[in-house]
C-alpha cells in the first residue's frame, strides 16, 4: 500500500470514538464546554 500522509498520525481509540457520541457523556461535556465558552465570552467583554 502506498504511504499517505495519514500513516504517522495518532488516531483515536474505539473508546474515544465511542465517547464522542455517547449521550450521557456528551451531556456532561455539553455543560463543561458551555462553561468554558462563557468564561471566554465574559473575559472578552471586559473592555
Amino acid at each position: 500500500m502506498a504511504p499517505t500522509p495519514t500513516t504517522h498520525v495518532a488516531k483515536p481509540t474505539r473508546w474515544t470514538v465511542f465517547l464522542r457520541t455517547f449521550i450521557p457523556w456528551q451531556l456532561w461535556r455539553f455543560a463543561m464546554i458551555n462553561l468554558r465558552m462563557l468564561d471566554i465570552i465574559r473575559r472578552s467583554h471586559r473592555h
Binding site: 500522509p5 464522542r20 456528551q26 461535556r29 468554558r36 471566554i40
Partner: protein, 482 residues
C-alpha cells in the same frame, strides 16, 4: 442630531448598527448601506453547501428588521468616502451606487462612519478559480447552493458505481478562513458516509497552512492526554480517522476543468485531479476610494494597498519576528479622521499571525489573519459604543476590543446529525498570540482548548438559531452575547 452611517450589513456592520440604534435616542439617525438587502449567517453556509440546509434557513430580508428597529436602510454599494465633504458643503458623505441603478450615485451624509464592508472575494487572483471558473465556493449562500448541486451530482455518479475525487481547501497562497473550508471538508466526508458512498470517494485537503490546524492564526496548543499538543496533531488525527489526505504549504496556481495546479514552499509543483472542488478565494477590501474636499484622491491615507482600512494599529513594516500583540488595533478609529472607524474584516490587520512563506517562484504562501465571527461582532459592538459615547461628548473612543486581549469561541462542525454528528468545539485566548504575556505558546492554555464530540454539534445548532434570532433583533436580542 447625529448621523451614524454603517457600510455593510454582515456580522460586524449589522451588530454595530443594531447596538448604535439601541443606545442612541430617536433624535439620532442610524443608516446602513449594503449591496445586499438580506442578512446571511455565513457560518452555516457550509451546511447549505452539502444540501443539509436551504438558503432561506441561513438568510432573511433586512429591510423589515431595520424598519421595525428604526434603522434607515440604503440598498446599494459604497463607492467613495468624502470625509471632508466637498467645496460646496463640508458635511462628510459617502457616495453610494444604488442597487439596480449602475452608474448613478447618491450622497449619504454622516457624522460618524463605520466601514464594515467585509471582503471582496478575489477569485480573479487565481486563473480558473471560483463559480465562474471550475471550482465551487461556500462564501455566499448562492455559491453554496451551486456547490450542493454539484455535490449531489457527484453522489449520483458514485451511486452508479463511479469513483469521485474531491478537493477542498483554499484557492490561493494568501487565503484566510481555512476554518470554514475545514468545516466543509469534514461535513462533506460525513455526508458521503451518510449517503452510503464514502468508499467511492477520494478526498484531499489543499491548504496554504504550513501545518494543519494553523487556521491563519499560527495554530493553537491544547492540553490533552498529559501533553501540550499542537492543533496540527488534532487536525491530522481528524483527517487520518476520516481517510482524508492533505497537501499543505501550497499556493494554488490555477484551476482547470478537473485539475488544480499548485506549488509548495519547498518548490514541489503538483496537480490534483478532481471531479468536485471547493476552494475558497483570497480576500481584499471592497475597493472604496477616498476623496478630499478638493476632489483629490486620498485613498492611500485611509486604506492599505490591500484595500482594507487603516485603523489604530502599528503598520510599520518590520520582520515577522518583531511583531507584537500590541501592534493590533484597540479602538478601530481611523488615524486620519476621528469620526471614521472600521470593523470586522474591513479593518487592515497590521501583520500576519502565521509565519509567511513563499515558493521558489515567489508566490506568497501566507495565510491571512481571520477577523470573522465572534471577534467581528465584538469589534462592531465596541465601535458602536465608542461612537455613541463620542456623540454624547467623549473626545476619544471609550471602548477597546483588541484581538490580542479577547478570546474567541469557535465550533467547527464535523458532521450534522443530532445523534451521530460531531463538531470540534474550540476556544482560544487571546486570538492574537501574546508571547510577552504567555511566552511559551502565546496563549493562556487554561482557556485554549479543543475537543470533538456530539456536544459540539448541539452547541453549533443552538448557536445557529440563537445568532439568527439575535440578528433578527427579536425581543431580548441584546442579551445574547456576541
Amino acid at each position: 442630531m447625529a448621523r451614524v452611517l454603517v457600510l455593510g450589513a454582515g456580522v460586524a456592520g449589522h451588530t454595530a448598527a443594531a447596538f448604535a440604534r439601541k443606545w442612541l435616542g430617536r433624535e439620532h439617525d442610524v443608516t446602513v448601506v449594503s449591496p445586499r438587502d438580506y442578512y446571511n449567517w455565513i457560518p452555516s453556509n457550509i451546511w447549505v453547501g452539502v444540501g443539509l440546509m436551504r438558503p432561506e434557513q441561513v438568510t432573511f430580508p433586512l429591510r423589515p428588521v431595520y424598519d421595525r428597529a428604526g434603522i434607515t436602510f440604503v440598498h446599494g454599494a459604497a463607492r467613495a468616502i468624502h470625509p471632508e465633504g466637498d467645496r460646496a458643503d463640508a458635511t462628510p458623505f459617502v457616495m453610494v451606487e444604488p442597487a439596480g441603478a449602475p452608474g448613478t450615485r447618491t450622497r449619504v451624509p454622516y457624522d460618524y462612519l463605520i466601514n464594515a464592508t467585509g471582503p471582496r472575494l478575489r477569485f480573479d487572483r487565481t486563473p480558473g478559480l471560483g463559480p465562474d471558473g471550475h471550482s465551487h465556493s461556500v462564501c455566499t449562500e448562492d455559491h453554496a447552493v451551486h456547490a450542493a448541486r454539484a455535490f449531489d451530482t457527484s453522489v449520483a455518479r458514485m451511486r452508479r458505481g463511479e469513483r469521485q475525487r474531491f478537493v477542498v481547501g483554499v484557492g490561493h497562497g494568501t487565503c484566510t478562513c481555512e476554518g470554514a473550508a475545514f468545516e466543509y471538508i469534514v461535513n462533506l466526508e460525513f455526508e458521503l458516509r451518510a449517503r452510503g458512498v464514502r468508499d467511492k470517494a477520494e478526498i484531499t485537503w489543499l491548504t496554504n497552512e504550513y501545518e494543519l490546524g494553523d487556521f491563519g492564526m499560527g495554530g493553537m496548543h491544547f492540553r490533552t492526554g498529559g501533553y501540550v499538543q499542537p492543533s496540527s496533531a488534532f487536525n491530522a488525527s481528524l483527517f487520518a480517522e476520516r481517510g482524508i489526505d492533505w497537501v499543505t504549504r501550497a499556493h494554488t496556481r490555477a484551476v482547470e476543468p478537473g485539475r488544480v495546479h499548485y506549488e509548495q514552499v519547498d518548490g514541489t509543483v503538483g496537480e490534483l485531479p478532481f471531479d468536485f472542488a471547493m476552494l475558497l478565494p483570497p480576500f481584499s477590501g471592497v475597493g472604496i476610494t477616498a476623496v478630499d474636499r478638493d476632489g483629490a484622491d486620498i485613498t492611500a491615507r485611509l486604506f492599505q494597498p490591500n484595500e482594507f482600512m487603516k485603523v489604530d494599529a502599528d503598520y510599520a513594516a518590520k520582520p515577522y519576528e518583531d511583531w507584537r500583540a500590541r501592534d493590533w488595533p484597540r479602538t478601530y478609529q481611523s488615524p486620519a479622521y476621528r469620526n471614521v472607524f472600521a470593523a470586522g474584516i474591513a479593518f487592515a490587520p497590521p501583520h500576519a499571525i502565521s509565519r509567511p512563506y513563499a515558493t521558489p517562484s515567489g508566490a506568497a504562501v501566507a495565510p491571512a489573519p481571520p477577523r470573522t465571527g465572534m471577534p467581528s461582532a465584538m469589534i462592531g459592538k465596541t465601535v458602536a459604543r465608542s461612537i455613541v459615547d463620542m456623540i454624547h461628548g467623549a473626545d476619544t473612543p471609550t471602548r477597546t476590543a483588541s484581538m490580542a486581549e479577547m478570546g474567541a469561541a469557535c465550533v467547527a462542525s464535523a458532521g450534522a446529525n443530532p445523534f451521530t454528528g460531531t463538531a470540534a468545539a474550540m476556544t482560544v485566548f487571546p486570538v492574537i498570540p501574546d508571547f510577552e504575556t504567555y511566552p511559551e505558546y502565546g496563549r493562556d492554555l487554561d482557556r485554549t482548548f479543543g475537543e470533538i464530540g456530539l456536544a459540539g454539534h448541539w452547541i453549533k445548532i443552538i448557536l445557529h438559531h440563537l445568532f439568527l434570532y439575535k440578528a433578527r433583533l427579536r425581543p431580548g436580542w441584546s442579551l445574547i452575547p456576541e
